[in-house]
């Protein structure tokens, strides 16, 4: 027999059983003498039925008790006729009392049951709210879906949101069949009216098991905009959702709306934080660049202004001095602008190394020679073994890397201190190192120094340089599939090392 029909019959069966048992009890034990007490016993039976099975059972029991009482105990017995008017009155009184008290008891029972349900629902929603606090939206929603599925004894639950915030729907299913059935509800958020109510759809499917199943679709709305969908697949054959379940789904959807909204805010905040940081970086860059541009400009303007002064007859040597200053500083400006362009080209990825096979020793000696004006005042020691293999590299770029390192070494170490440039084999790689005896780089800064515009305050020394040398070097080395780092194993000064990959098997 159908489950639902069974459930409908229960109150009637219970009422009949209660009345039968009471009648038998009275017949056997109490006897027929005390009619007033008999009616009280039936009343007890009606109350028990009311509390246990509700209002319908209470009314059915009242009527059955009334008839049975009349039939068995009110003279003349075994017929429904009542002889005595007084008996009729007490019988009627019994019926009214039974119906009224039975209904009241049943209502109390219903209230108690509802309170219990509400408590359960509140607990389910409360626990869901806890799960939603998880900062990762996808993990939070999967946990929430599973929580609802288990707590409400459903076959499957899915939570969908717009793809930009939740790429995959969060799904909890009892088994693979349930998961497949849930999938059959479709995932078209479009199907739902943003402001519309939740609705039930009937699944259609190839299997008879699926055909006819119902799923409940609840829109998730935040701030008047639909942001997702909650799909609930009850167990096959479960009764339709009542208002209590609908209320739970509505509250859950509202909670989910807030959670999704919060995740979106967080995402926006993260994006704006990234933008703000890059803005800060650009502001920093502008400050650094404008300061670096002004320093040579100040010399150029002062020298040009001097040349234009008519109140002094400058000697040939003096004029030459001003002109030299203008030229030197203009060259410096040009170098700075060039570095900035290099960096922006490298950052854009438009700088592609033009690699060819080169002799590493010659390259290092070339750099040392070219950097002689910069390293004047420092003895330069070259350590270049004879048997170095040729390396495939972009000559100009690696020359630039070495030059930047040597320039830094000269700039940041006291006059007269030695600068070392060395090359050596390192497994299949070739390792370059530039060493100075300046103030060194603290371990905490050894990563930062390769970022653009990071200039270290060195032992009371103000920031100098535009802070691009190491940033450019790092990018160029990495464009050669090499690595560059600050060697911490030196007792004083700075040793910057970079490696370039050699040809495997040859080196």
């Amino acid at each position: 027999m159908d489950n639902r029909v069974m459930r409908r019959l229960i109150p009637f069966v219970a009422a009949a059983a209660a009345v039968a048992i009471t009648t038998a009890f009275i017949d056997l034990i109490v006897g027929r003498a005390q009619i007033a007490n008999i009616s009280m016993l039936y009343l007890v039976a009606v109350l028990i039925v009311a509390v246990a099975f509700g209002r319908v059972a209470a009314i059915v029991a009242s009527i059955l008790a009334f008839v049975t009482f009349d039939w068995f105990f009110v003279p003349p017995t075994h017929q429904l006729v009542v002889a005595d008017a007084e008996e009729l009155f007490s019988l009627a009184l019994f019926l009214i009392t039974a119906v009224v008290t039975g209904t009241l008891a049943a209502r109390e029972r219903a209230r108690a049951q509802e309170a219990e349900h509400r408590e359960h629902d509140a607990k389910v929603l409360y626990e869901a709210a806890f799960l939603m606090a998880e900062p990762n939206l996808e993990r939070a929603l999967v946990a929430v879906a599973e929580h609802f599925r288990a707590a409400l004894d459903l076959d499957a639950v899915s939570i969908e949101a717009n793809a930009d915030i939740l790429p995959h729907p969060a799904i909890a299913a009892r088994d693979d069949a349930a998961r497949a059935d849930l999938r059959a509800t479709g995932s078209e958020l479009r199907l739902m009216d943003p402001a519309g109510p939740s609705r039930t759809i009937r699944l259609v499917g190839p299997t008879t098991a699926r055909a006819g199943r119902r799923a409940r679709l609840v829109p998730i709305v935040a701030a008047g905009v639909r942001v997702g969908r909650l799909t609930v697949l009850p167990q096959a054959g479960a009764p339709e959702f009542g208002p209590a379940e609908e209320r739970v789904f509505a509250i859950a959807a509202a909670q989910l709306g807030l959670t999704i909204e919060r995740a979106r805010f967080r995402q926006d905040a993260t994006e704006s934080e990234v933008l703000r940081r890059s803005d800060d970086l650009k502001t920093e860059l502008l400050h650094a660049v404008s300061h670096e541009l002004r320093t040579p400009l100040a010399s150029i303007l002062a020298s040009a202004g001097s040349l234009r002064q008519r109140d002094v007859d400058w000697t040939e040597r003096e004029r030459d001095e001003f002109a030299t200053a203008i030229q030197d500083e203009a060259v410096r400006l040009d170098r700075l602008v060039g570095s900035l362009l290099d960096l922006s080209r490298i950052e854009n990825g438009t700088l592609v190394p033009h690699k060819a096979w080169h002799d590493v020793g010659a390259l290092v000696e070339d750099v040392a020679g070219r950097m002689r004006p910069v390293t004047a005042g420092h003895p330069v020691r070259l350590d270049v073994p004879e048997d170095l293999p040729p390396i495939e590299l972009d000559y100009v770029e690696i020359q630039q890397v070495l030059s930047n390192l040597v320039e830094n070494a000269a700039k940041f170490s006291p006059a007269g201190s030695e600068i070392g440039i060395s090359v050596g084999r390192d497994d299949s790689n070739v390792r370059f190192a530039v060493r100075d005896h300046g103030p060194g780089i603290s371990p905490g800064d050894s990563e930062r120094v390769f970022e653009p515009f990071v200039r270290l305050a060195r032992a009371g020394q103000g920031p100098r340089g535009v802070g691009l040398g190491l940033a450019i070097a790092k990018r160029l080395v990495e464009a050669h599939a090499g690595t560059i780092w600050v060697d911490r194993g030196v007792s004083d000064g700075t040793r910057i090392v970079f490696t370039l990959p050699g040809r495997a098997g040859v080196v």
Binding site: L301, E321, F322
Partner: protein, 253 residues
């Protein structure tokens, strides 16, 4: 105090060698860590008859100051071995030698700090060399002939301040000033053409407990301008140094 002999009349056919033979020019100390800037300033200032010492670090600057006792210091705030502020502070502990501070644009806080420490003037890099020369002359003249209350009457264009009688006239017309307005004007006229920071003015007029109440100062400067300037919107005497303070522009110089 040695008087600066910086002037060769504009357009006058004075040979530069005539000046170079005369080593009596004021002794200047130029401190900057940019070698080309130091070279340019040294050549130019020598050409204008000054004796020039140079230093590229704060340490050198202080050593040179001790050794040569210059008449004026041109100081870049951004030095490799310690900041220029320290140089200002150390020199001010010993003397009132005029200090003109050089700093990159945008460093208003630096300028104010340096002026509060006792620097006399500032120039923003990049600057015009003629402007620097003018500022050097003003600072040297100020030292050569300090006007702090020594003269009973100070005249600048149409503005006359009688310090003995506490009377102020503009173009012969008596101006009524409140005691605070008068005190403020007095600080200005006794420091002609010198940059005064908000803090310095507040402390001299209101007292040593003041320093951050710039709004008081702005109100009083605005009142003074209404009383003594012919066009308070475009002041001729009380000139604002943006982000730093004020300067009393004296037509005398």
């Amino acid at each position: 105090m040695e008087r600066a002999s910086f002037s060769r009349s504009r357009g006058g056919p004075v040979s530069s060698n005539a000046v170079r033979d005369e080593p009596s020019g004021a002794r200047l100390l130029v401190v900057d860590d940019e070698p080309s800037m130091v070279r340019t300033l040294r050549t130019n200032l020598r050409g204008h008859g000054f004796q020039v010492e140079t230093a590229e670090t704060a340490g050198d600057a202080l050593a040179s100051y001790e050794r040569r006792q210059p008449d004026l210091i041109v100081l870049d705030l951004n030095l490799p071995d310690g900041d220029g502020f320290e140089v200002v502070r150390r020199i001010r502990e010993q003397s009132g030698t005029p200090i003109i501070v050089l700093s990159a644009r945008g460093g208003e806080t630096d300028k104010v700090n340096a002026l509060d420490l006792g620097a006399d003037d500032y120039m923003t890099k990049p600057f015009g060399i003629d402007e620097l020369l003018a500022r050097i002359r003003v600072a040297l003249r100020h030292v050569a002939r300090p006007g702090t209350g020594a003269e009973p009457r100070i005249t600048s264009g149409a503005l006359v301040i009688d310090l003995e009688r506490r009377e102020v006239t503009v173009a012969g017309r008596a101006i009524h000033l409140t005691p605070t307005e008068y005190d403020l004007l007095k600080v200005f006229v006794t420091n002609p053409n010198k940059v005064l920071t908000d803090r310095m003015l507040l402390q001299q007029v209101w007292g040593p407990d003041y320093g951050d109440e710039s709004h008081y100062l702005h109100v009083y400067v605005a009142r003074l301008r209404r009383k003594i300037e012919s066009d308070p919107q475009d002041p001729a005497y009380l000139v604002t140094e943006p982000g730093v303070g004020y300067r009393f522009r004296s037509e005398e110089l």
